[in-house]
């Protein structure tokens, strides 16, 4: 969808900035806010480019650099940590061959850490895009990644 079409769904009021940035990022095939995204948002809300950039850079759900098609967000808050997210992180890094904040060469996966996802009952947990996964083990993570590769 064109950027103009997306932002028109929201009234040009500053309190809609997070909604607009969410929508622009979701629409970007590389899952991030490009300079054009930020510029369009700034013009629409009639604020400086730097203002939108400063807001976008404050919140962890927004990325200012291109990301993969699947964003893995592993929870590393105390409950998940207690239940073993640390070793999962090592496993993910190794099997994807990337570090936190990086994207695989084929553009399939980006690995990120996140604060509590609020599903601590099934810790350790992660989110891939909008979907939650819990009770993770290396085997389960492997199966989930395989499924994503095929879809």
């Amino acid at each position: 969808m064109e950027r103009d079409e997306i932002i028109k769904k929201f009234s040009p009021s500053l309190d809609n900035i997070l909604f607009i940035l969410h929508a622009l990022q979701d629409n970007n095939p590389q899952n991030y806010l490009s300079k054009d995204d930020i510029r369009v948002c700034a013009e629409y809300l009639n604020v400086p480019y730097s203002y939108v950039h400063s807001v976008a850079s404050f919140y962890t759900m927004f990325s200012l650099k291109p990301r993969g098609r699947n964003i893995i967000r592993l929870c590393d808050s105390p409950p998940c940590h207690l239940m073993g997210s640390g070793s999962l992180l090592e496993y993910l890094k190794e099997s994807l061959n990337i570090n936190v904040g990086e994207t695989t060469e084929d553009g399939f996966f980006t690995l990120e850490l996140t604060s509590c996802l609020g599903v601590c009952g099934v810790a350790p947990a992660m989110m891939i895009n909008d979907e939650m996964f819990g009770n993770l083990t290396p085997e389960k993570v492997n199966a989930i990644l395989d499924m994503r590769r095929k879809s």
């Binding site: 009021s13 500053l14 309190d15 809609n16 900035i17 997070l18 909604f19 940035l21 969410h22 809300l45 400063s54 807001v55 404050f58 919140y59 962890t60 759900m61 927004f62 590393d76 808050s77 105390p78 409950p79 940590h81 207690l82 239940m83 640390g86 996140t114 604060s115 509590c116 996802l117 609020g118 599903v119 601590c120 009952g121 099934v122 810790a123 989110m127 909008d130 979907e131 939650m132 996964f133 819990g134 009770n135």
Partner: protein, 525 residues
């Protein structure tokens, strides 16, 4: 209307969806259709039953049998055996249920009888149906109040109930409303803080997923009492299902004239809308939340002025937690003295807890204020997993305190815990067994705070960075003896000089770790 002989209530919340609840629901619908039972048995959606980590959970009525860990493969068997032949599929029946399989609740475990005020409808009604909410007495309180009571009388009743903020600060809800009502301003706002980010807390998510109309009714009553025209729900961007259900609830309430212009023909108009956050722990702090809602970086504001006089866009604003607002309809329907029948003298009512970590049955419970930590962990949580010993519990999230065995019998409520320099906070109880490495846990907590420090004030921005450096050193067995006291000293300075509660609250996890586990920390040196 068809006469239905069995109801199958499937719990559809974030945890059960992960386990495949939607597929199981579809499988039931298909199976019943194949057997021509679609008019005799209805499949319904409901919220969380409180059982977490037990896969897909469902209840079959009228017997009230709870099944857990159900997969699509089990569906034909449940229909064949239970629905047709009246025999329960024993291997899937939740163990905690008594042999006779009646709805009566168990003595222990997550299905133990609970005084449910906030969670009254959760796991019983379909959260997406406003009719079901109304059938349980929903919007009755709001209608009575708006038609018959003066705003001042509502505030008096809430004050008398002794309800205090359930987000952690425990400030009197009635007083807060009173301040905002008296504040000068043509426009006033109610904000519901649903930016639940405290690690280990997911009570608000389950309230929103299980009974969204209860929150809306609470906000409506708050709006009427304060004289507000607009309500906002500021919710975490990650809470996808909660947002969906709230959007539907608002639309349905508007269609019935329960929100919008001229509610109940009283002349009172009130609009509620949702604002989505984007991942920032600090936005749980009320003034940072207001900044974020206005479309800015989520930096806290200096207080005073407090939001009740100068809040959103400089107008008088009340900010209440989800759980606080969800208490309101019940208080107003049953009266303040009924509410005071629960909990303690100084801290009436109930508290919703999430019990997680090394417990046998992690889950969500509602218990009276003043229930001991021992009861919560051993009665409801089923004790420590794998028969191990209790080491400690982190109570109140990352901004809470580690409590050792000597605290097991202390009453859990806002007032009592304060006497022990601990906090109830958001009600998260993270239980750790004897094998837990406490240095690693503290390290994790400090890393969390460094990541979430918003950078606005110096003590917190630099303090969290220094604390992380030191704890990393200690965890790596490269620390020095004086490092231990340095942790405490830095956190003391942060407590006294940080701009907002984020930096101030680090003192709690650090000082409590040192109180109980100084020797364990020293052994790493």
């Amino acid at each position: 209307m068809n006469l239905v002989r069995n109801h199958i209530l499937i719990s559809i919340d974030s945890s059960t969806i992960m386990a495949g609840a939607r597929a199981v629901e579809r499988a039931f619908v298909d199976e019943l259709l194949n057997r021509g039972l679609q008019d005799e048995v209805s499949v319904l959606e409901t919220g969380s039953l409180g059982l977490i980590n037990r896969g897909v959970v469902l209840v079959v009525y009228p017997e009230g049998v709870i099944y857990a860990d159900v997969t699509t493969k089990d569906v034909p068997e449940i229909v064949e055996e239970h629905i047709l032949k009246g025999r329960f599929v024993e291997r899937l029946v939740v163990k905690e249920m008594p042999k006779q399989h009646v709805i009566k609740r168990e003595k222990t475990g997550l299905l133990k009888e609970q005084p449910r005020i906030v969670l009254r409808n959760s796991g019983i009604i379909n959260p997406e149906s406003i009719d079901e909410y109304i059938a349980t007495g929903g919007y009755e309180a709001a209608s009575k109040i708006i038609n018959e009571m003066k705003p001042e009388e509502v505030i008096e009743e809430v004050k008398r109930s002794g309800l205090t903020g359930r987000g952690g600060a425990a400030f009197s809800t009635g007083m807060k409303w009173d301040f905002a009502r008296r504040a000068k301003g043509d426009v006033k706002y109610i904000i519901c803080n649903a930016d639940e980010g405290e690690p280990g807390t997911f009570k608000d998510r389950l309230i929103l997923e299980g009974d969204p109309h209860k929150l809306l009714e609470g906000m409506l009553i708050a709006g009427y009492a304060v004289g507000a025209q607009y309500g906002y729900i500021y919710i975490r961007g990650e809470y996808v299902l909660s947002i969906e259900r709230l959007e539907k609830a608002i639309k349905d309430a508007e269609a019935l004239g329960l929100l919008g212009e001229n509610i109940f023909g009283s002349g009172f108009s009130y609009h509620v809308s949702i604002k989505k956050g984007a991942g920032a722990y600090v936005c749980g702090e009320e003034t940072a939340l207001i900044e974020s809602l206005e479309g800015k970086r989520g930096h806290p504001r200096s207080k005073p002025p407090y939001p009740v006089t100068e809040g959103l866009w400089g107008k008088p604003t009340v900010i209440n937690n989800v759980e606080t607002l969800a208490n309101i309809p019940e208080i107003m329907r049953n009266g303040a003295s009924w509410f005071r029948g629960y909990g303690t003298e100084k801290c009436p009512g109930t508290k919703v807890y999430t019990i997680i970590g090394h417990v046998a049955t992690p889950g969500l419970i509602e218990a009276e204020m003043g229930t001991t930590l021992r009861d919560i962990i051993f009665e409801y949580g089923g004790g420590i997993k794998n028969g191990k010993k209790f080491k400690c519990a982190l109570v109140g999230g990352a901004a809470g305190a580690f409590l050792g065995p000597d605290m097991l019998d202390v009453n859990m409520d806002f007032v009592s815990l304060r006497e022990y320099s601990a906090v109830l906070g958001s009600g998260a109880i993270l239980v750790m067994d004897e094998d837990t490495n406490i240095v690693e846990m503290l390290k994790n907590v400090l890393h969390f705070f460094r990541h979430e420090s918003c950078g606005h004030c110096v003590p917190c921005r630099l303090g969290t960075a220094q604390l992380v450096k030191i704890i990393d050193r200690v965890a790596d067995s490269k620390g020095k003896r004086e490092d231990i006291d340095k942790l405490l000293r830095i956190s003391e300075v942060m407590r006294d000089t940080s701009f907002c509660p984020l930096g101030q609250s680090l003192y709690l996890p650090i000082s409590s770790t040192l109180k109980y586990f100084r020797d364990e920390m020293l052994s790493m040196i």
